[in-house]
Amino acid sequence: MKGYWWFAIYLVLILLMQDYWVVGSNSTLIWGIIPAWFLYQIILCVALFVLNYFFMVTFWKESEDE
């Protein structure tokens, strides 16, 4: 995947983090424990971890390792 696609995916993720207007302010408790917006943000952080992993294995050159 080209660099600009990665840039676009990360940009979308950052925009989703700014959500105050759709799901990002819903404070209904999920599983009776965690406010929905808080869980939403944690999911975005985990998504960042997954995205970074795929970025590392597909885009970041192996040749740079040593």
């Binding site: 700014q18 408790l29 406010p35 943000q41 970074n52």
Partner: protein, 490 residues
């Protein structure tokens, strides 16, 4: 004295002694070179690099200030700050990767050395040194403050705040003095793990008092619902505030001096890559519990005069003594792991960016190590003295330090990626950007000017504009230097 208390005190002493033992072994395997003392011989592997970066950034704030801020202003605190801290992983790719390549090739030890060489300018080295000192020295006082408050709270004043702070500072000085960055990084693995585990233990201790996590969260929702609202009870975490915090953390973390030099200290690129991948998970795992601690604390103690004391109060009142001491070990870990890194990096910079280039250019390795170790002692004393009169919400005390460091991200990115950047551009952008940031904190520039955003936004814009404009009108470094950094081989 009860058996429980004796065991508890033994655990605490063992924990403090462990860092000194690690330092002893670090000293033993060290080759007594400048590279070895200040950069652990550029040997930090995947696990050590990830944990030392995490433990360095996540200070006493996660245990003390974070829950205190949630208690006072709501869980929205998690929003901008955590998102920005997680996103800082992207800067590890943009900045950290290049710094590792360059640092490894040209054997830089400090940020100032890199700037001096990149721009052929001692001025850039001294400006970076002053800017970093100005924002890190106040910050090193935060850790003794947090440690002193915690020790004093845990012992219900039996250990006075001043003595508690002193114990923290002296322990850190001892192991950093003897073991350098290797001791700091190795202890950070243990301290980072302890911090992570015991943060969650404290959540379960607080939830246990309210009938479990579900009952505790329902109680928060029923009694103080605003705490779980994203904007919080006092409207502190609206979109603009969260976005500002995201920018502050995103731009500042890679330019925090201890984080910056750890890019030079990585063993290989693989360590940087895995730091980039693991970082968001480590950050979320540490920040999420602060929200629950603060929120559940609000139910258990609705009217605390000093919100920063919520964690210590929960530990003392609800954990059995043996567990209280173990959780306290986690708290102490969070505090020490940041303070040791700050002491160490400041000593590195004062030695390599001030003493060697401006005082004694012919200083031998032994002399540099000796001076570096003395700086650690002096900084410890300075940090302790600043900590003597603590502010109420230490989380906000850190704010000016992070904003000031965020400004330095602009010249760092320019140095790494923009051939046209010049020494004058860097110097003037830092001076004017920091003036704006500091002026805002001092109230010289009214907050109303920034339309609800933090001063970091205008400061970043001003820094960028000044750097670009001044660079276009001033002299470039030599072609040889530009080729050194921008040819494929760089």
């Amino acid at each position: 004295m009860s058996n429980e208390l004796i065991i508890g005190i033994t655990v605490l002493i063992f924990f403090l002694a462990l860092a000194v033992i690690i330092s002893y072994y670090a000293n033993k395997v060290s080759s007594n070179t400048v590279d070895d003392y200040f950069l652990a011989g550029r040997s930090l592997g995947i696990v050590v690099l990830a944990f030392t970066q995490m433990a360095t950034i996540l200070s006493g704030l996660v245990f003390v200030g974070g829950p205190g801020i949630v208690y006072a202003t709501g869980a929205g605190f998690f929003s901008g700050l955590t998102m920005g801290t997680c996103l800082a992983a992207l800067m590890f790719y943009i900045v950290g990767r290049r710094l590792w390549e360059i640092g490894n090739k040209y054997r830089f030890i400090t940020p100032g050395e890199f700037f001096r060489d990149r721009f052929e300018s001692p001025g850039t080295q001294i400006v970076m040194l002053i800017a970093m000192l100005a924002f890190v020295i106040p910050y090193i006082a935060l850790q003794p403050i947090a440690g002193g408050m915690a020790l004093s709270g845990l012992t219900k004043g039996a250990i006075p705040y001043a003595v508690g702070s002193l114990i923290i500072v002296v322990t850190i000085i001892v192991y950093v003095y003897f073991g350098g960055l290797r001791a700091v990084a190795w202890t950070d693995v243990i301290q980072g793990s302890a911090m992570l585990v015991f943060l969650w233990v404290l959540v379960f201790v607080a939830a246990g008092q309210l009938g479990g996590m579900s009952a505790a969260s329902e109680a928060v929702k029923a009694t103080v619902p605003d705490i779980f609202e994203r904007t919080g009870p006092v409207g502190a975490w609206g979109w603009k505030a969260a976005f500002s915090w995201m920018c502050i953390t995103f731009f500042s973390i890679s330019c925090q001096p201890p984080v910056f030099i750890r890019f030079f200290a990585a063993q290989n690129m693989k360590a940087i890559k895995w730091l980039f991948v693991l970082w968001p998970l480590l950050i979320v795992a540490c920040w999420a519990p602060t929200v629950f601690i603060g929120a559940y604390g609000k139910i258990l103690y609705p009217d605390m005069a000093v919100p920063d004391e919520i964690s210590a109060t929960l530990i003392i009142d609800y954990a059995p003594l043996w567990l209280a001491i173990l959780i306290f070990v986690g708290l102490l870990s969070a505090i020490k792991s940041t303070a040791d890194s700050q002491f160490h990096v400041l000593s590195s910079m004062l030695t390599r960016d001030f003493y060697v280039p401006f005082v004694n250019q012919k200083a031998s390795t032994e002399k540099q190590l000796k001076v570096g170790k003395w700086f650690i002692v002096l900084l410890g004393i300075a940090g302790y003295l600043v900590a003597f009169k603590p502010p109420e919400l230490i989380g906000f005390f850190a704010n000016s330090a992070f904003t000031g460091i965020a400004v330095l991200c602009v010249p760092t990115l320019a140095a790494l990626y923009w051939k046209r950047a010049t020494a004058a551009g860097v110097i003037w952008s830092v001076i004017l950007g920091e003036t704006l940031a500091l002026g805002s904190f001092a109230g010289i520039f009214p907050k109303s000017w920034w339309m609800g955003f933090d001063a970091v936004i205008p400061a970043l814009i001003l820094t960028t504009v000044v750097l670009v404009v001044v660079s276009y009108f001033t002299k470039l470094p030599s072609e040889e230097t530009i080729n050194k950094y921008f040819s494929n081989a760089a």
